[in-house]
Structures are given as structure tokens and as C-alpha cells.
């Protein structure tokens, strides 16, 4: 499990890599929260339920990240740990699970940059050599 970044002129490209599809999504989310604050300082004290769906996996990835961005504002929380399951039902991919984090604390979390949205730019979800990779550019 690992997360990385890639170059982008105006915004930030994030990459999540994992042994499973779920892990790659979770790692990408961690990459995104590391843009917002110091990831290690965010304790998983409370959880928020997440449920999103989409017709394709790439769409699901964007839905997932955008739902987390929305939860930051709605719950005034930051997240660092995730536990999700992805299933295909009929023609739709469904992601369900939990995001663990805590209330935003400007002293504790060394806040950095807000993320406005996850975008479809350079979006890719793929499996290669038994590894899953999920990537996109987030607008900051």
C-alpha cells in the first residue's frame, strides 16, 4: 500500500496503489488528505459512513473522493484511515464503508491546502502486475 503524487501545472495529481482495488482507493484518499493537512496527525477517533455508486470504476473513484471532500465541510472533520468494500451489482459499482478521522484542529493538524474537487483529468483506475492503481488530478 502506498500513495504518490504526479506533476501537474496548476493542481496536484494523486496516485493510490494497493494489492486490492479497495486499497488503491484508500491510499489515494490518504494522498488527498496529506494535501490538506499532516496526515499522521489525524487520529481515527470517529467514523463517518460513506456510500457512493457509479456506472464505471473511474467514475466511482471520483465519486469516492468528492464524497470525502464534502464530508470535510459537512462534518468539519479530516480523515486518515478508510475501510471500504467495492461491489458490482447489476450495471453499477457500489462503494460502501467508513472513513475514520476527527474534528479539524488548526493547531494539531498543521493545515495546508483545501481541495475543491476531484477532477476527471488524467483519471485512471487499472490493474497491472497484480497491483491496483487509482489516479486523478485534484483541484486545489
Amino acid at each position: 500500500m502506498v500513495y504518490k503524487y504526479f506533476e501537474h501545472q496548476a493542481d496536484v495529481g494523486i496516485i493510490g496503489v494497493g494489492k486490492t482495488l479497495e486499497e488503491s482507493f484508500q491510499e489515494a484518499a490518504r494522498a488527498m488528505f496529506q494535501i490538506m493537512a499532516s496526515l499522521n496527525s489525524i487520529e481515527g477517533k470517529k467514523s463517518v459512513s460513506i456510500s457512493v455508486k457509479s456506472e464505471d470504476l473511474e467514475g466511482l473513484f471520483i465519486e469516492w473522493l468528492n464524497e470525502l471532500i464534502a464530508q470535510v465541510g459537512l462534518k468539519n472533520m479530516l480523515f486518515s484511515r478508510f475501510d471500504i468494500k467495492i461491489e458490482k451489482k447489476q450495471d453499477k459499482y457500489i462503494l460502501k464503508g467508513k472513513a475514520y478521522g476527527e474534528k479539524i484542529n488548526s493547531e494539531k493538524h498543521k493545515l495546508k491546502t483545501e481541495v475543491k474537487a476531484a477532477s476527471y483529468s488524467q483519471l485512471k483506475v487499472k490493474k497491472e502486475n497484480n497491483k491496483y492503481t487509482a489516479r486523478c488530478v485534484v483541484d486545489v
Binding site: 506533476e7 496548476a10 496536484v12 483545501e114 477532477s119 483529468s121
Partner: protein, 490 residues
């Protein structure tokens, strides 16, 4: 005139500093880019390097969209965006054209408010550190900050309809301010019912927050006057201190963008509009989806106007606590958006026509005589506020007849990024940068070192170069150049 061929693009410099992307296959109009050789070379380099995601491609993609008029335009701050390039302008027939998500983006009506203070540079020098700290304390900025304006969920709908006027009614600012905001600070045709509850829930605590990234609050002074006659009309004198702030519609705009990206993706398929980039999705203006999107974005535009009105007044309040001036002495020069779509009338093939003008990272720059401009400025054209980077300079230009003819009354909006945020962070260290700028007389305070490094002046195109292209092509002309003294970053 020189011609450049690179992969499937042919560019020709049709006028000095104006490059045309030749029309091929199904493009409805040619593309036009305003840029120096250096700016154009950067764009060409991206194509040569095989970056599938590049601004020239995006300019070209916009040229295929139904109802586009004259040219798919990009101004001198051009760089790759989401579907539209940043610095992009797309004008569409109001009857037969489309409205595009990419033409507005995720930060609806992000823009600049500039106010004129009665102070001169020397007044601020004496209390520079004090005002920096005061701004930092009193103007909410950065991730997770909440606004000064306390709203209930039902009141947010009022913000979305009344815009800056709502803020004024709640005691933020003066009636006079509204006159100097584009559209009087209220975009008509907004419908809060078409904005999701999620967007409203994310926003109701955020009205009156600066945000982060490239958003800022600055004290600047007038460094150079290039057009004394118009500077006088705008009320600008040498060394005069200005307050300038850059922010937008905050979470409500971000969520509305995210929500409608899906709606317009479906609409593109429904109305058979080919999708050339996933964000470059549209709906016919006169379709149900198009109308809903426009009314939702107009609501988001009002949210941005309200946000800037609240922040402007908080900045005023901070100023009177530090300097011996009255808040009424701080007057709004102008407030403009640079991520917008607006219904406007322009001349096309000699006839006035109603168009929907998308400006993505582009400022409206109306020339003399337009009735949309406040009476005080109408004879000389509207002020065009172009933000530079925190360590360099900003500019105030004026709109021209030439701009009305060639770019639908649109100009550049900022310096435009040159370096990725990641690269900027590797290249610059926040702390070091703050010290360097401080030696140059510019005090900066932000909510994180990394955020400051990302906004390093060197990470942007040279603001002078961007503005000079606008000036030399006559699209908008420089009135004054300003320099920063105090800067708050989110």
C-alpha cells in the same frame, strides 16, 4: 508572419501577439491565443512532449462546441485547465448554443475585489506588522475556517438570490459598494432550488471565508501610473494604498460544480454533443438541464459576491482598528469575477447578438459606453483587476473598444501558473521565501509553509509579460501597476 506546425496543430501569428489555431475537420471556428513567443513556446512544448492534456488541445476542443461564435479564445495567462483552458473565453449563441461546465469550473465567480483607502504607502510602513497580524486574526482563512456571518440553513437561499446585497443588509459594507460590483452584486435568474442541499449544508458556515490555495488578502500601493487621466477617473494616486482580495464561492461553488458535472455529462450524451474531455460537457442553453445549470451557477455567483462583500468589510474593520481612518473612507473600486458565464450582447458579423460568454480564468473587460459599467467609469471602460503573485505586482487596466471587438470584452485574470505546486514546493521553502520577501518589504502570513511555497512568485508566469500582451494588443490597457506590502494567504 510566422507559422508553426506541431503534430496536428497549425499556428499562425495573424497579428502581432495573436496566434490562430487553424480550423480543421469539424471545428466550427478557429482558435486564437494571445501570447508572446515565450508564452506560445510553452504551449507548443507541452504538445511536443506528448502531454495529452494541454492548453492548445483544450482551445481546439472548445472550438467544436455547438453555437460557438468567432473564435475559441485563450488570453495571455493561458495554461491547461479542466476542459477549458485557464485564460479561456467561449462565446455561444444564446438560442442555439450550449452552456459548458468547463467554462465555469469548480470555483464559480472566483474573483477580485479592490478597495481604495485614504492612506499612502508611508502610513502603512509604520504599522506594517500590526496590520498583518490584525488581518490574520480577523479575516477567516484556511481549511476548516468558519465565516463571521452566522446563517441558518434557510437563510442560505437568501444569500443565493440576493448576493452582495444580503451581506450589506446584514451590516457588512455600504450601499455604495454594491454599485461597484459587477451586476450590482446580484445576478438575476439564480434559483436556489436547483442547488443541492449538500452544497448549502457545506456553505452555511463558510460565507465570509477566504479559503486557501491562490486566494489572498493584500494591502498594495500604487507604484506606477501609466494612464494618469484614467487613474484620476478611478480615483487612484501614486503611493495610494489599496486593499485587494481574491476568493470565490467557496464550498457551495465546489459542490455545485461537482453535482452538475454529472448532470451535464448525461446531457451531452442525450443531446449528442461529443465529449472530447470528461469535464468539457455541456447542455443546450435552452434545454431543461442547461437552464437548471445556469440558474444554479448564478446562485453560486451570488454566493461569491456575498462572500467578497463580507470579507471586504472585515478587512475594513481591521483597518480602522490599526489606522486612524473611518471605514467609510475605504471605497470599493471594483469587484469582478473571473470564472463566470454571463448573458451579454456583442457585435457578431456587424450585428448585435445575445450570447452566453464563458470566462474561465478570464476577466470581463468592457470598453467605454457599455451600460453594464458604473456611470463613474462608463466613459473610460471598466476597471480590469489582474492579480499578480504575492511577491511581485498586480495591475489595474481598463476595458477598450478593441477588446469589445476582438475578445468579447474579456482580458486575462492573473499571472497564470508556470510551475506545478509540487515542483514549487521542492524548489521553494515557505520559511525562506517569507524572509526573502520580508527583505523586499513584503510581509506575508499564511496558514502553512507548504501553501506559501506553492504560491512562490517564481511558480507563476511573469505578470508583466501576461499584462503586456493584453496592453500591446489593445485588449485592455494598463492604468496602474501596484506592489504588495502585506499579504494574507489561506
Amino acid at each position: 508572419m510566422s507559422e508553426i506546425k506541431v503534430k496536428d496543430f497549425t499556428l499562425e501569428e495573424v497579428k502581432k501577439l495573436v496566434w490562430e489555431i487553424k480550423k480543421v475537420d469539424d471545428m466550427l471556428v478557429p482558435g486564437r491565443v494571445y501570447g508572446s513567443k515565450n508564452i506560445i513556446d510553452h504551449l507548443i512544448e507541452d504538445v511536443k512532449l506528448g502531454k495529452d492534456w494541454n492548453a492548445l488541445r483544450q482551445i481546439k476542443n472548445v472550438a467544436y462546441l455547438p453555437g460557438i461564435q468567432n473564435y475559441s479564445l485563450a488570453l495571455s495567462d493561458v495554461h491547461p485547465g479542466y476542459g477549458f483552458p485557464i485564460g479561456g473565453v467561449g462565446a455561444f449563441d444564446a438560442e442555439k448554443g450550449v452552456v459548458s461546465f468547463a467554462g465555469v469550473g469548480f470555483d464559480a465567480n472566483c474573483g477580485v475585489r479592490t478597495m481604495i483607502t485614504p492612506l499612502v504607502k508611508e502610513d502603512v510602513l509604520k504599522k506594517q506588522k500590526i496590520i498583518l497580524e490584525k488581518f490574520f486574526k480577523e479575516v477567516p482563512a484556511g481549511l476548516g475556517s468558519t465565516g463571521d456571518l452566522k446563517l441558518s440553513m434557510s437563510e442560505i437561499d437568501e444569500v443565493l438570490v440576493k448576493g452582495a446585497e444580503f451581506a450589506f443588509e446584514r451590516g457588512y459594507g455600504f450601499k455604495e459598494d454594491l454599485r461597484y460590483i459587477e451586476e450590482g452584486g446580484i445576478v438575476k435568474g439564480a434559483n436556489p432550488a436547483n442547488v443541492s442541499n449538500k452544497a448549502k449544508q457545506r456553505q452555511f458556515k463558510e460565507v465570509g471565508t477566504l479559503g486557501s490555495g491562490n486566494h489572498y488578502l493584500e494591502l498594495q500601493y500604487v507604484d506606477e501610473i501609466l494612464d494618469p487621466k484614467i487613474a484620476k477617473v478611478y480615483g487612484l494616486k501614486k503611493n495610494q494604498v489599496l486593499i485587494s482580495l481574491h476568493t470565490g464561492s467557496r464550498a457551495l461553488g465546489h459542490q455545485t460544480g461537482t453535482d452538475y458535472l454529472k448532470v451535464l455529462s448525461d446531457a451531452s450524451r442525450k443531446y449528442n454533443i461529443p465529449i472530447r474531455e470528461r469535464e468539457l460537457v455541456c447542455a443546450p442553453i435552452n434545454s431543461d438541464e442547461g437552464q437548471k445549470y445556469i440558474s444554479a451557477e448564478f446562485a453560486a455567483f451570488n454566493c461569491a459576491f456575498a462572500n467578497r462583500q463580507v470579507l471586504a468589510h472585515l478587512a475594513r474593520k481591521a483597518m480602522i482598528k490599526v489606522f486612524d481612518i473611518d471605514e467609510k473612507e475605504i471605497k470599493t473600486l471594483y469587484d469582478i469575477g473571473h470564472n463566470t458565464c454571463k448573458f451579454e450582447k456583442h457585435k457578431v458579423n456587424g450585428k448585435m447578438k445575445k450570447l452566453l460568454i464563458h470566462r474561465k480564468g478570464s476577466t470581463r473587460a468592457f470598453g467605454p459606453g457599455r451600460e453594464e459599467i458604473p456611470e463613474k467609469y462608463r466613459k473610460v471602460g471598466q476597471p480590469v483587476l489582474i492579480g499578480g503573485t504575492m511577491g511581485t505586482c498586480s495591475y489595474i487596466l481598463h476595458g477598450t473598444d478593441k477588446g469589445m471587438e476582438d475578445t468579447f470584452g474579456s482580458s486575462a485574470h492573473g499571472a497564470g501558473r508556470r510551475m506545478s505546486r509540487h515542483e514549487a514546493k521542492r524548489t521553494y521553502r515557505g520559511e525562506k521565501l517569507i524572509n526573502e520577501l520580508s527583505r523586499k518589504g513584503i510581509l506575508i502570513k499564511g496558514h502553512g509553509w507548504g501553501g506559501i511555497a506553492e504560491e512562490a512568485p517564481g511558480a507563476y508566469k511573469d505578470a508583466d509579460e501576461v499584462v503586456n500582451v493584453m496592453h500591446q494588443t489593445g485588449i485592455s490597457k494598463i492604468v496602474v501597476k501596484t506592489k504588495p506590502m502585506v499579504c494574507i494567504k489561506g
